[in-house]
Symmetry: C2
Subunit: 293 residues, 2 copies
């Protein structure tokens, strides 16, 4: 199954989350059964990220959104963490600092956008400014209602300047969220991160649903599509996201740049006389052709 | 063998790199034989990084220095990349931008210092300002000679504010460097990154040696030690660095914070009536206890 096609929000369509099965798992039965496919896609991610880095022309921005316990952290740990940290930067967005709040809402996200050849992962993103901000009336409707178009213009600009954008909404049921909160209670190593606040957003479940639906409907575009990922099964979420990111990168058809020098020339110039060279240092050469470290 | 002890530059001692065996590999025979130990330490790194993140009090700064092809990138890919990118940020330092050059030399490094709970990896570091800058006379001796004390004061300040610092000099022979350059020539997928410039620093081998020796001698302190890592064998380099980082983190004796709430209370308040709750969403619960994703 083509997950990118299946889970992509068609630009211009109206999203109704109650019609999306959060427990969908395609033809797979279990984590164990899906694992080889996840592993294969993690390997592709690594390889493709290296090509993106080598090519140095384009970049990738991945936005992760979802309710508490939807699996944003887990996706980073189990899927996106496969990439080399040298070419991949994660930025988590929490309550804005005073300096951030002093600027337009997109300022802090723009600062964290990926450089050419790099991957940026946003753990929560500029969409918070039409989600929590809207649900809790942190700004007036006049302000937040203009943001959908502002976000689309921002993302279009990024895309036109070489940044590919993938946005994932991790879709879980309220029952699944509660079960995950409970799992934390049952695991002493996770007690430190439990707070009463975890539960504080649950009474607003429907308001969040409406806010997510608007963001997904108004801001899924050809240049920055939203994907609704069934995420009740963590492993299926991992499988789907790994697949979609890998296939997107593959579709970019990235090439290693042509050498900037004449390789034969370099070989002749510097390696013809290796034995005659002997500058400095000690004459105790290591094992020179240790492959596949 | 205690690698931290063996490879650490004793504060106040005078380093003579010609006396350090770059091909040292301890009791290990091969990569294959060392691999289980490397894997075990990578696992420890992941676990300890999570504790550092949970504790949220201290941070870790790892500086990687070494000549071209010494293995800085490889160390990140094969060792430090084991850490969760959410808590670990790599910053590579190249020629300063105009804005960076407009500030004191430590400004751009300070900006990239790790937040509490985080790990920062510097691929090249503030030491460049007493290495390449010194070798190529980019500033006068009056300027660079003061930097050793400035660096020590900077690192002491970081340490006193909770940042643990580990600095690794990856030690290779000139023969090994040349062999690695040649390997790139033999691998078409790496031709794109070959330049004449790779070879341009080789005539300055001895000048760099002197500059490294001064930095290692003057700036190895109890709060920010230097380690000279034998790096002709890539796998031994990986083994030694993984071990030293893991043991350092372990010595910090990091603890999960105490829960900020009464867990029993939370359980009673939110989970006693799960079945009665049934807010919003669809009634198709996922598989709730998928462990070990």
């Amino acid at each position: 199954m083509n997950y990118a096609k299946r889970f992509r929000v068609e630009p211009g369509s109206k999203v109704d989350l109650s019609r999306v099965d959060a427990s969908f798992k395609d033809r797979h039965e279990s984590h164990t059964q899906a694992l080889p496919e996840i592993e294969r896609d993690r390997d592709r991610l690594r390889e493709l990220q290296y090509r993106m880095y080598a090519e140095g022309k384009r970049s990738l921005l991945i936005c992760l959104q979802g309710r508490d316990a939807a699996g944003k952290d887990g996706t980073i740990k189990h899927v996106l963490g496969a990439m080399n940290p040298q070419g991949c930067r994660v930025t988590g967005f929490k309550v804005p600092s005073a300096e951030e709040a002093g600027h337009d809402f997109l300022w802090r996200y723009h600062k964290a956008a990926p450089a050419r050849g790099q991957v940026a992962i946003f753990n929560r993103s500029h969409y918070e400014d039409v989600l929590v901000v809207r649900v809790h009336d942190l700004v007036s409707k006049t302000v937040w209602s203009k943001r959908y178009a502002q976000i689309n213009a921002f993302e279009r600009m990024l895309h036109e300047n070489g940044t590919h954008i993938l946005k994932f909404y991790l879709h879980i049921d309220p029952e699944e969220q509660l079960a995950r909160f409970k799992q934390r209670l049952d695991d002493p190593a996770r007690h430190w991160k439990i707070s009463d606040g975890d539960y504080a957003e649950r009474p607003y479940w429907d308001e969040y649903t409406a806010a997510f639906e608007d963001a997904l409907s108004q801001c899924s575009t050809d240049q920055a599509p939203w994907f609704i990922i069934p995420a009740n099964h963590k492993w299926f979420r991992n499988l789907a996201i790994a697949r979609i990111v890998a296939e997107t990168l593959e579709s970019l058809d990235m090439r290693f740049p042509e050498p900037s020098v004449d390789i034969a020339e370099i070989r002749k110039k510097y390696h013809a006389l290796v034995d005659a060279e002997g500058q400095g240092g000690r004459s105790e050469p290591g094992e020179h052709h240790h492959k596949g470290q």
